[in-house]
């Protein structure tokens, strides 16, 4: 599948979320966690993260690299909500999660390892099975993993899952 994130937009319209430039300056000197909290609040206001409705706060035990990936996923979700929904469905399927199950960080991490196996990524790039996020190419599974991280970063990290149906690996 090729997701051309600009193709369905009117000519000349950026695919970058309107808040991005503002975000750039606002958080240029700030922490990544500040940035992610801002991104999460945008997602909440847009109603894209059902888990926030359950209450709770994002955990703070993620690494910088993980938060960077989560921010990337959040970006994709806002820029291409339709594509993001499909990709996250893939990721959830890979993780054995139902569409509405909360995503914990351990689940997201384990699923990322599975989704971004080098052979898998190489195959997807070879087949041009990619998503362009603001022009940057991501293999489809990379994008799915990033979306799962974004969801995890917005999810209350309950142990075990609030639905009780998906045990942690």
């Amino acid at each position: 599948m090729r997701c051309d994130s600009g193709a369905r937009r009117p000519a000349g319209e950026t695919i970058e979320p309107a808040a991005s430039r503002q975000t750039e300056s606002r958080f240029a000197q700030g922490s990544r966690r500040d940035f992610l909290a801002f991104a999460a609040s945008l997602a909440l206001s847009a109603g894209v993260s059902h888990v926030f409705a359950l209450g709770g706060a994002p955990t703070t035990d993620q690494t910088n690299a993980e938060l960077d990936i989560a921010a990337l996923g959040e970006w994709l979700r806002r820029a291409e909500p339709g594509t993001a929904t499909a990709l996250e469905a893939d990721a959830r399927k890979a993780a054995g999660l139902s569409p509405y199950a909360a995503v914990t960080w351990p689940i997201a991490r384990a699923t990322r390892v599975q989704l971004t196996a080098p052979d898998r990524i190489a195959t997807e790039f070879a087949q041009a099975d990619v998503v362009f996020v603001d022009g940057w190419p991501l293999a489809r599974s990379e994008a799915a993993a990033a979306l799962l991280y974004a969801t995890a970063s917005n999810s209350p990290q309950l142990q075990p899952s609030i639905h009780g149906s998906e045990a942690l690996p």
């Binding site: 970058e16 990337l72 990619v130 022009g135 190419p137």
Partner: protein, 500 residues
């Protein structure tokens, strides 16, 4: 010999075998080569030996369409040496593929082939002190050992390309060829003298003289057997169009083609090449030290398959700030590297990548004349640079192929060209081309396969205004090769005329 136009008497008449207008890459190459063969040559240059505001302002253009000041006013020079005075010195030949017509690019193709230019590329390389015309991309021969991952060929859509670079001492013709010009026994270079009108004979089949003006208010006249305009794509068209006293619509413009098919390379800094594998080097800094530039271009196969115009990209070592939040690119790098830690590996390294994309020949993209006049009374040109949606789509698709090829290599990620409001997608590359294009058919081009204006027996054109199709390659080397080819022709004509 070098003289200043204001140092001679008003209404002086200069005479020679060949009169060349413009002392830039084309004109100086042509004039000096002819002079070395013993042909009496006049070389008329609008500026002096150094840059002046007065001569530069004669380049002023009224802008329309996608044209911008960067495109026209900051990419040309109007003094001895012409635009070589700020030339970057990147050397590439046009490949055989670029000379061929491409069914998916209307009006494409040259009336000559690469083979016609081969000996002149060799001669041009010799003039520039280059050991080879086209140095093949051979990492081992270049001293890089095993093929470096960063620059390796990336078949099937993208291939690595190597640019030669002109040695600094040969780069600025105004410096490097000044003494040769001054000491020539058969070349007279007249500075600070601007050709304003070209006069045909009453039959309108030949040029009789050129009328030039100086800043000091003098009028000078130049007579020759043959004339060659080498003033650049905008000025060549301007001069032909402005010489409309005897020929309505201007010289050579019987089919309303003079000034049309103006092309430039779209050029843009596409953004950072995000290095995700520290073992990907060497990087361009090292390559530049070897007096080469390495980059990529779309392959002929990819262009045929995807129906694309030419496209190339060069890594540029100049570091610039990222245009997007750092979290963004670091997320990509972390994914690509499989990073999970609190302290990421070395922060991703960035190299700038600059792209050039070829514009398809387009009759609506053109140079016209304004009603306004410059300081010497010559009507100013209007440039309407028309970039089409097809041009932009081709550039975008090409950059996507490059972006995918880089990602497939596993060492880096590169952003695709975006269609973002306000982005300088149409920033010009300073490679003005077209406007007096070659064609065997007078209804398709202003000049024939030798660069002679179809309707005039002794008026020739030099420079990139001859290009019917631009290609992705830097044009100066081809400009020089064409000038040397024209020199062969004019030297032969001069010899015949003398013997008769």
């Amino acid at each position: 010999m070098i003289v200043d136009g204001d140092s001679v008497a008003d209404n002086t008449v200069f005479e020679a075998d060949v009169c060349v207008v413009g002392a830039g890459a084309a004109g100086m190459t042509l004039a000096l080569d002819l002079a070395q063969r013993g042909v009496e040559v006049l070389l008329i240059e609008s500026g002096g030996l150094e840059w002046t505001k007065a001569s530069h302002e004669l380049l002023d253009v009224e802008l329309s369409g996608h044209s911008n000041e960067q495109l026209v006013n900051h990419t040309r020079e109007r003094f001895f040496g012409g635009t070589t005075n700020h030339w970057g010195g990147e050397i590439r030949t046009l490949s055989a593929f670029e000379f061929e017509p491409h069914a998916w690019v209307p009006h494409s193709g040259w009336p000559i082939s690469r083979k016609d230019l081969d000996p002149y590329y060799v001669a041009a390389a010799k003039l520039l002190g280059l050991p080879e015309v086209d140095r093949p991309f051979d990492p081992a021969a270049l001293g890089f050992g095993e093929s470096p991952r960063l620059v390796r060929p990336m078949e099937p859509d993208i291939e690595a390309q190597l640019w030669g670079r002109v040695p600094p001492e040969r780069l600025r013709f105004g410096q490097s060829r000044r003494e040769e010009t001054r000491n020539s026994a058969t070349l007279r270079c007249v500075l600070n003298t601007t050709v304003a009108v070209i006069h045909p004979e009453p039959t309108r089949q030949r040029i009789v003289s050129m009328e030039a003006r100086t800043f000091g208010g003098k009028t000078l006249h130049f007579r020759a057997k043959d004339f060659a305009l080498c003033t650049g794509a905008i000025e060549n068209a301007r001069l032909l169009l402005a010489s409309d006293a005897a020929v309505p619509r201007g010289l050579g413009n019987e089919h309303d083609l003079v000034g049309r098919y103006f092309m430039d390379h779209g050029a843009i800094d596409i953004g950072p090449l995000l290095i995700t594998d520290a073992a990907a080097g060497p990087f361009q800094e090292e390559l530049i030290a070897e007096n080469n530039l390495v980059g990529w271009a779309t392959t002929p196969e990819a262009r045929t398959k995807h129906q694309l115009q030419g496209f190339m990209a060069i890594q540029w070592p100049k570091a610039t700030p990222l245009r997007q939040p750092i979290e963004y690119s670091q997320g990509i790098a972390s994914l690509a590297r499989g990073e999970t830690g609190e302290n990421p590996q070395t922060p991703p390294r960035h190299l700038n990548v600059v792209i050039n994309w070829e514009q398809a020949p387009n009759p609506l993209s053109r140079v016209m004349l304004s009603g306004k006049r410059d300081a010497l009374g010559v009507r100013k040109p209007i440039l309407h640079w028309d970039v089409t949606a097809t041009d932009l789509a081709s550039a975008r698709r090409s950059s996507e192929l490059l972006s995918l090829a880089v990602a497939r290599s596993g060492y880096a990620r590169l952003r695709r060209l975006q269609n973002t409001p306000g982005s300088p997608l149409t920033k010009g590359g300073g490679h003005q081309m077209g406007t007096t294009r070659m064609s065997v058919d007078p209804r398709q081009g202003v000049t024939d396969h030798n660069g002679r204006v179809h309707s005039l027996q002794n008026l020739y054109i030099g420079g990139s205004s001859l290009f019917p199709t631009g290609g992705w390659q830097n044009p100066t080397f081809t400009i020089m090769a064409l000038a040397l080819r024209l020199s062969d022709l004019l030297a032969t004509r001069s010899t015949r005329a003398t013997s008769v």
